[in-house]
């Protein structure tokens, strides 16, 4: 089996338009959640989100590109450009043929859907722009990344709701590990902060109107975010030979299905995914110093996740740190695991553990060290990233410090 390392990372999300500014915000425990600035916001009951503000696509894309790229594709390309520039890779010949892109997204081109449903249903128009389908399709972002960077190997899109990014990165990891690919561009993206996207979530009555407070006894629901994060996963020997800077090593991945309920999480399903990632990584539980939690801020997720962690780690659960950065960037749905992997990599490279902000009051059902409110400086060697999706589909990644 080949070893898999990360040699590039890029992002745009509510905390910042690149990795440096996102890490700085996480270090300072800054909140990117604010009043939504979208059309018809007055008709929404939930008026907050982790929205990317001061965004001007025209500085990054030309007119033809903008007419073809939904916002979720734009976020992906911005992130991919940063990640591939950092990795210092160019894809030609054999390398191009053995490199691909696997991304996670849940909604795909929701902005395009929303705008065009308005035009045909609300405004009664009978003609739509010719690019509606190529803009809204879930794989548009992956395809545009492959075109911009000449990635000709295995490429596709994974849609498993809130676990999409972790499932995508797990596939990328296993493709390199098995020898199927040399380099995989991977991560996830979401742009669901439009009227229909927020309204749909409102209907389920699990959203908070006033903030995301994971693990706090005062939590009252999730808050949506938007953005993308993209990584370059590379076969270790390939990276070493070209002298690339290695940010971290991906060492394990596991996925499970609860096979029980379409929205309620299961402790057993989550625990099996966490334990599975440890087994896959051949990592003793005591080695794990930090877990980036799924930590949505709903009553159900946070207590089930803490119980699953306690089950898998036993007494070590009290020694490890577990934080939810969703408190800062919101829940990016299909893109969330990717943005959260930035916090995992920051823990390994910078020795900084991103906090769970907005933490007000302990909940006895979430009695773990959730790194409340302030980032912590701790050298860590191994971390996990949890993602537990609606539909009971769970995906957990294990990473180690680069050696």
């Amino acid at each position: 089996m080949k070893r898999v390392v990360i040699t590039g990372q890029g992002t745009i999300n509510a905390l910042g338009a690149d990795v440096a500014s996102t890490k700085e915000a996480m270090r300072e425990g800054r909140c990117g959640i604010a009043e939504l600035d979208i059309r018809d916001v007055d008709r929404l009951a939930v008026k907050i989100g982790g929205q990317i503000k001061d965004y001007d696509p025209e500085t990054l894309f030309n007119r033809q590109q903008i007419s073809l790229y939904d916002r979720f594709t734009q976020f992906t390309l911005i992130s991919a450009r940063q990640a591939i520039a950092q990795a210092g890779l160019e894809f030609h010949g054999d390398l191009a043929a053995h490199s691909g892109v696997v991304l996670g997204t849940s909604g795909g081109g929701m902005q395009t859907l929303d705008e065009n449903y308005r035009s045909v249903y609300e405004e009664g128009k009978n003609r739509v722009h010719p690019f509606v389908v190529p803009k809204l399709m879930n794989n548009a972002a992956a395809s545009h990344v492959s075109m911009e960077f000449n990635l000709k190997g295995p490429s596709f899109t994974v849609a498993t709701a809130c676990a999409s990014s972790n499932h995508a990165m797990g596939q990328a990891f296993n493709m390199i590990r098995s020898g199927m690919a040399k380099v995989m561009v991977t991560g996830g993206t979401e742009s669901m902060l439009c009227f229909g996207g927020v309204k749909a979530w409102e209907g389920l009555r699990v959203m908070s109107k006033d903030g995301c407070r994971p693990f706090s006894a005062t939590r009252n629901g999730m808050v949506q975010g938007e953005g993308a994060a993209v990584f370059v996963f590379e076969e270790y020997e390939h990276a070493r030979k070209r002298g690339a800077e290695i940010l971290a090593e991906v060492v394990g991945f596991a996925m499970t299905s609860d096979a029980s309920d379409i929205v309620m999480p299961s402790k057993q399903g989550a625990a099996r995914a966490i334990a599975g990632a440890l087994t896959d990584a051949r990592m003793p539980p005591e080695e794990v110093c930090y877990i980036n939690a799924h930590g949505t801020g709903t009553a159900a997720n946070d207590k089930v996740e803490c119980a699953a962690v306690a089950d898998v780690f036993g007494h070590h659960a009290d020694d490890l740190m577990i934080s939810s950065t969703k408190s800062m960037h919101g829940h990016l749905i299909g893109g969330t695991g990717a943005v959260e992997l930035l916090a995992c990599i920051m823990a390994l490279t910078d020795g900084v553990i991103a906090p769970t902000i907005n933490y007000e009051e302990p909940d006895p059902e979430c009695a773990l060290d959730v790194v409340p409110n302030e980032a912590r400086e701790v050298e860590v060697g191994a971390v996990l990233s949890n993602a537990f999706a609606f539909g009971g589909l769970n995906a957990v990644l294990a990473l180690r410090k680069a050696t």
Binding site: A45, L204, R205, S208, N220, G221, I262, V263, M264, T298
Partner: protein, 86 residues
């Protein structure tokens, strides 16, 4: 208000797959076999039927003024919301 009570019982009965007569005032949602998804669906149906907004967040059901402890409580809460509408 008798018709409000009747309509609420019909909505709950449909969700519970029971006859309306079997939806007793003292029955809890648990008794009727209505889970969390069934509850949010019932609330949606109530909002649609009476054109009201029910203040309910599944994360903190007890924090809301909308009492869901049993069928009678739900009827009373809906009657209150309907009354304050006019």
């Amino acid at each position: 208000m008798a018709d409000v009570a009747q309509k609420v019982r019909e909505i709950i009965a449909e969700q519970a797959v029971l006859d309306v007569e079997d939806v007793k005032p003292d029955a809890t949602l648990d008794d009727l076999g209505i889970d969390s998804l069934g509850l949010v669906e019932s609330i949606f149906a109530i909002e649609e039927a009476f054109d009201i907004q029910v203040p309910f967040n599944a994360n903190e059901p007890e924090a809301s003024d909308f009492d869901i402890s049993n069928v009678a409580a739900i009827i009373k809460a809906v009657e209150g919301l309907v009354a304050s509408k006019t």
